[in-house]
Subunit: 874 residues, 2 copies
């Protein structure tokens, strides 16, 4: 009844064929071993040995450490070159713990110890430490084999095999679970059958096995103490049906299966829970994007369909409304007719219509639903993967931290300590960030202003009509390029800053790095968008009293129909561009180039290379793959995308659709990368997605207020409503355009700012109009903010208050409505508990019977009470 | 090293003296039993028997069930009279489960069974069921003794004793914890020594024992199936030093120790975790109120100190500002001088000054801190009480639910099912609630309006000057009386509605009842306050165009200095009155009266009574105490108070001080009640305070927005700021009063509304003033809302947006800053884990050594590999 599920990275599988050699025959031969009962599989002696093995062809290679064959002078450089220093964590502490339990280490004379430290990087000491480390590994019961520079010159491999008894010892830190059948709605199962990957779903997903998850706690035992250059388990290129890389490649890491669910169970088995959770999260996110994309597309189509019925844009485009507008720049620009803004006004309507308000509310609730849905999915995976009782460790001290502390202690007199505290870093970081961001945004603004002025200056009429489109397009592209470049810069900066801090543990290192990277990259990606949405066109002043920056540059105005259109273009270009360039170029291109460079180094042409490749063993092949650099870049990319999808959805309802299309590719791209491009990552356990969940939650909270502001301040939604219900003479939108435009007497221009060509339109202009709510030139307080301005501002703010609180309430309601633990899982857990209690009670009754019969036989019963009152030694 | 901590309600203690009989001697005798090792305490045979025991004087009475000695016709009435039906839950299900495991129950013929049900309440059947139930109890190993009508006529007692082996069986559902010493800062310990109750803190709180917490799961086994009228464990009136009722009485349930911490460990041991958590929560809340009360008092004192420097009230009080105000009611009232509002204006300043804004922010953060602090305290208690792995059960099916289902099944044809669904109840509830609340609030408004008009009508000048104070005071008192009466009505209503729903389990019953009661009582307590804060004086119209309700009643206006003063009085009277009346009268008085009535029934005079009391045994004495009705009323009272403290703190900074004073009394009052006034409650396990935490959290979230609105709309804070920075000619507050008053031309009064005595002030009035921002009578749009109105409204709303988001951000920051698990507890948990791992590794090494030596001896070693690779049966 109980079954055994192997945890791949240190798996007990000894019965698998090597991918390169015995391509056929493996399949049928080893099926029977998949679910053999625990007792019958006593050791790895059973079965033939055909995987990547030691020289004896028997013991499987579970893990590989690589090192440079003794070239003292190049050691440090090469280590950093391979970039694997990150994964070399200190084993010393844990090993001393281990040793402390069986044989106490010989006490070193403090003098000798101090001397030793001083020779720290000396060759002899390194060799000594390596030997000591290997001895420790052997002492733990692991079996080692060296493979020095057979095919790859200068590189030595230390192959490690974990025998059955070591695995069993580790496995005893396990949780017992009863195998319980899950009820499955057969109809749904059949209907969605084509969506499921062909990985024997019935066995793999519906029966819960008794599982042996190895805790991460012990994995650091397998990592070196500073003398090895890389450490990785091997890619299993086997045909073993449930557990191979090949099936992952076919059923997961392929674009042809994009419409299928991911084989999460298999991914977890192959890569560990941490990566499994990432792909599960990505899957849930992508799945949840489908309804959002559909609704977004409908909202956009609604905008398209109603564009011809939109009274304000009809009024703008109507040639009878012959409104003369004030010039958009000093001197060079002249008066213009409002009807030339017709195109922009019609385009704006696509994104600025009442449906977007509905869509913002929808997306806020969608975000709440998504968080809840993920919580439930995570809970389900925790249950299926037996993580319910697992608690994450703080993590082990980082080697860098220990080195730093050591150095600090030893060389106190020689060098000042480099350890910087987080607070200092923050103090350093904030003004730098603000400065750089401001400089970038400001630079782009200046570019736009100057280009616009230059284009206006030119007398070519076609150039003039295309001015706006050209400026918008080029500015957005420049922004994009700056964003992508700064993204890389900020990534490096965050890493550098975190290294400066020298956090104590791996976990705190990761968290701090993530937070820093997130803050920097997020500000980078969103500052131009925030500028467009909330600051552009707000501080322009008014005709005759414009605001000037740096001498003579007038602040930009928005087009008549609001800045929403430009915001929309910026969002569109940023999303598409970032995804296309960062995904395709960086994620596919750069690893390929790196691989190529690494191969080039061995100075062989392609034919030779291929022949050479054929002779390489698995562990040597994997050596040429890129190292696994963690999940943070993948998560980061997705979080930024999530921000785009939720934060400014009010201005760009197509964002979810773009995100969906990107993610469908992204899943398979990441899958391909993990399966074929990088060394197999060390499987890590994780119960949740950690800090990313908090970031997502924070984003979805911020999204509510950002959308409230976009709707009420960036779009024309509130002014329209106010006009319709407070000012319109007939309750319709007729006259709205006129209502939004204030009057300006051209005689009030400041000296030197009046247009050079006042007769550009063919007639003399006395009064021009501009978009603002101000008093008329003939009122008591000319050009003051009018009552309408304050009324509309009050309404905008009232909308923000109402929107924010209503949406927050609804999100909390959704949160409360959907239980965090799915009903079937909680039932299952309850059932298991009841089973345990029943088992216990049965045992108890057995005991009682035994006790009773014993008591009846005993002649020395102390009292003659009717009920059993016997002492028991429980 | 391991110790045994007894869980009192089903304790193994057999070695205690009865309070009434052997008052001396118990103390020294039983000290040595407190920490005897587990193995030496094998059974309850050991030690002398002197507590409340069975007739044999040996077996202790652990639990008592009472029933009415067979009087068929009065059975049902009496049961409901005692009000204990609530605690009589169905044992049938669990018993059948128990039975199902050893001997299957004899299968009943369906015909016979149906017939039996029809005779459900028949005497024979009841007697049969009682016998069957008692047989079941005996079968479970419990020992029973009957004590029928010895002293109390008509009442039979079924005394239950749980022998050692039964306790041990239950105890095996336990969690092992290593006893670990907690580091204690000795200095702090010494400094705060007088604050700690004298309950041997070192032993009781600092050493973690290996404990045997009995799960609640099994407690329902001790409850009857409808034939018993009450079930309770006994009060331990012993001198046993750690575990008696007497020490609780001396060191906890006494007003003289009000300044001390509560002996939470002891409370938990005596009453169980659920009640322990309530008192721990109350303690944390009271403790946290201290800083809030201090800051609140300082804010109030600041108001008092600055009242003479407040320019607006100086302007109002200045006789030179001879402003004529418009009449406050139609016809009867006349014009009045603004300086008569001088007193109110000065009083308002006490509560309406910039310090209250600071205090609102402070209290929002205080609420966040409080929630965090409680989370940590709860975590600590969970650790100390060994609840870390404990998961709460859904609870057992309620007897009422099963009866309902049974009745529904049996009498489908006879009666329509009574089961109402939650949705129906909600549909029923909402309009009812809205209706009643509206009627009550409206009634009070009408009272105020009519009284005011009547008083104005009277020509007595002293009556007139006291009009406002009289109206405010009486209205607030009337409100209070209505609130208290409706509170009881709503409590009964919530219970009735929840009973209508017939929830499935105890837990869902409790939760639904709490939510309903909370909604009803909260709306009841806060509707007058909300009316005063946000609606009073908003919809009054303006002179010449007043809003009338029900024919001729004009809506109330606020006094010149805003409604804040009245809100304040209302809050003050509600808080003080509710606390005084509900605490002292209801909580102390009514139980006393009930007890008296219950005693009176036995028709004896006081001397007889006393003599009679002396002869009573413990279980008979406890019978006269009131039943324990759950913690909900206590929590509810505190939650309403928490609402008062946080929701409207902007208008009444003394609220935390009042709450603190009340709670210091409340703790000891509740303690007294639990120790002496009610039957000892059945100890229940709980990991947290459940739904109350969510309600608190919800309240502290709502508090932010409510305070934002109080500051910006109820107080004059924003108009003052706007005046100072936008309109003031010299940047000071001079002229603010004039700015807030609009002009009204008396010729614009509607016919029949002009004052009857226009010459009341001694001169003819042409223009009177009223508090509003409207255009002047001589403008183009007379009496329209002015630009100032809209500007101030926009500023008010902007303040709400900024305040809400800043405070929410700060609260989240506090939430994030304070870790949920205290550092020392997480270290402790980690240490325990390491110890476990070490223990395991030691065992493992022992095994390995054994295996190795075995392998070396074995001649049939299959292979000659160097490392140990032996099969093991792990």
């Amino acid at each position: 009844m109980r079954r055994n599920d192997y945890y791949i990275p240190v798996s007990c599988e000894e019965k698998a064929a090597d991918f390169g050699n015995t391509k056929d025959g493996g399949d049928s031969k080893y099926n029977k071993y998949d679910s053999i009962p625990l007792n019958s599989l006593k050791s790895d002696e059973a079965g033939p040995k055909q995987g990547p093995t030691f020289q004896d062809g028997q013991r499987r290679v579970d893990y590989v450490l690589t090192y440079h064959i003794q070239k003292p002078q190049s050691f440090r450089r090469k280590t950093s070159h391979f970039g694997d220093y990150r994964i070399l964590r200190s084993l010393r502490r844990s090993l001393s713990m281990m040793r402390g339990r069986d044989t106490p280490p010989p006490k070193e004379d403090p003098e000798v110890a101090a001397h030793k430290h001083r020779l720290d990087y000396h060759e002899d000491d390194k060799r000594f430490r390596q030997t000591e480390f290997e001895d420790n590994l052997r002492e733990m019961g692991l079996e080692l084999e060296k493979d020095e520079g057979n095919k790859i010159p200068g590189i030595g491999f230390l192959k490690i095999h974990a025998p059955w008894n070591v695995l069993c010892r580790e496995a005893e830190f396990m949780k017992l679970k009863m195998p319980t059948k899950k009820r499955i709605n057969l109809f749904i199962r059949k209907a969605t059958a084509p969506l499921h990957p062909k990985v024997e779903p019935n066995r793999a997903q519906n029966v819960k096995h008794l599982s042996h998850p190895f805790s991460r706690e012990k994995q650091h035992l397998l990592l070196g103490n500073g003398v090895y250059s890389a450490a990785y388990p091997l890619h299993d290129m086997l045909f073993y049906p449930l557990l191979s890389c090949q099936i992952l490649y076919d059923e997961w890491a392929s674009y042809s299966v994009f419409y299928k669910y991911q084989p999460i169970g298999l991914i977890r088995k192959y890569f560990g829970e941490k990566i499994g959770l990432y792909f599960a999260w990505l899957g849930v996110y992508t799945q949840m994007l489908i309804p959002a994309a559909i609704v977004g597309a409908i909202v956009f189509l609604y905008g398209c369909a109603t564009v011809d019925n939109d009274i304000p844009s009809m009024e703008i485009c109507d040639p009878r409304n012959n409104i003369t507008m004030c010039p958009l720049c000093d001197r060079a620009c002249s008066y213009w007719k409002l009807k030339t803004a017709c195109g922009t006004a019609r385009a704006s309507h696509l994104f600025d219509n009442p449906a977007t308000v509905f869509f913002s509310i929808f997306m806020a609730l969608w975000a709440a639903m998504f968080m809840e849905h993920w919580k439930r999915r995570q809970m389900r995976l925790n249950y299926i993967w037996d993580l319910t009782g697992f608690e994450e460790e703080e993590g082990h001290h980082r080697a860098e931290y220990e080195i730093q502390v050591m150095q600090k202690t030893l060389k106190k007199q020689d060098m000042s300590p480099k350890v910087t505290h987080e607070l200092e870093v923050c103090v350093l970081l904030s003004p730098l960030q603000v400065g750089v961001t401001f400089a970038v945004v400001f630079g782009v603004i200046l570019y736009r202003i100057s280009i616009k002025a230059a284009l206006h200056m030119s007398s070519n009429p076609t150039a003039r009509t295309n001015i706006r489109a050209t400026v918008k397009g080029t500015a957005a592209v420049i922004n994009l390029v700056i964003i992508i470049i700064m993204d890389e810069v900020y990534g490096a900066l965050a890493r550098w800053l975190t290294l400066l801090e020298v956090p104590k543990t791996d976990k705190s290192f990761e968290e701090r790095l993530i937070i820093k990277t997130f803050v920097l990259k997020f500000a980078n990606a969103f500052s131009p968008i925030v500028y467009l949405a909330f600051f552009r066109g707000r501080m322009v002043g008014r005709p005759g009293d414009y605001v000037y920056v740096i001498g003579s540059y007038r602040m930009e105005e928005c087009a008549h129909a609001g800045c929403l259109m430009e915001l929309c273009i910026q969002l569109c270009i940023t999303m598409l561009g970032k995804q296309l360039i960062q995904n395709n170029l960086f994620e596919i291109g750069i690893p390929k180039i790196k691989k190529l460079i690494r191969r080039r180094k061995s100075d062989m042409d392609s034919q030779q290379q291929e022949d050479y490749n054929m002779t390489l063993q698995r562990h040597e092949k994997d050596h040429f793959l890129g190292p696994f650099v963690g999940l943070s870049p993948e998560y980061m990319e997705m979080i930024i995308q999530f921000g785009m999808v939720t934060l400014f959805v009010a201005s760009f309802p197509l964002a979810p659709l773009f995100a969906l299309l990107n993610n469908i590719i992204e899943i398979r791209l990441d899958a391909k990368k993990f399966v074929t491009e990088v060394r197999r990552p060390i499987a890590a356990r994780a119960k949740d997605i950690g800090i990313w969940y908090n970031l997502l939650r924070g984003l979805s909270k911020v999204a509510v207020i950002v959308n409230a502001f976009v709707i009420s301040f960036t779009s024309d939604f509130i002014p329209r409503l106010v006009y319709q219900y407070m000012y319109s003479p007939d309750g319709s939108m007729h006259g709205f355009v006129n209502h939004t435009l204030s009057y300006f007497n051209v005689s009030d221009f400041q000296p030197g700012t009046a247009p050079l060509q006042p007769m550009h339109l063919g007639y003399e202009v006395q009064i021009c109009r501009y978009k603002d709510y101000r008093e008329t030139p003939w009122s008591n307080t000319p050009y003051d903010l009018s009552k309408e301005f304050w009324a509309i501002l009050a309404c905008r703010l009232a909308f923000v208050v109402v929107f924010q609180n209503v949406v927050m309430l609804m999100s909390d309601f959704v949160d409360w409505l959907i239980p965090d633990i799915p009903k079937d899982i909680s039932l299952q857990i309850h059932k298991e508990k009841v089973l345990m209690v029943e088992l216990f009670m049965k045992e108890e009754e057995g005991k009682k019977l035994l006790r009773d019969s014993h008591a009846n036989q005993s002649p020395l019963q102390p009292r003659s009470r009717p009920a059993s009152h016997t002492p028991s030694n429980c």
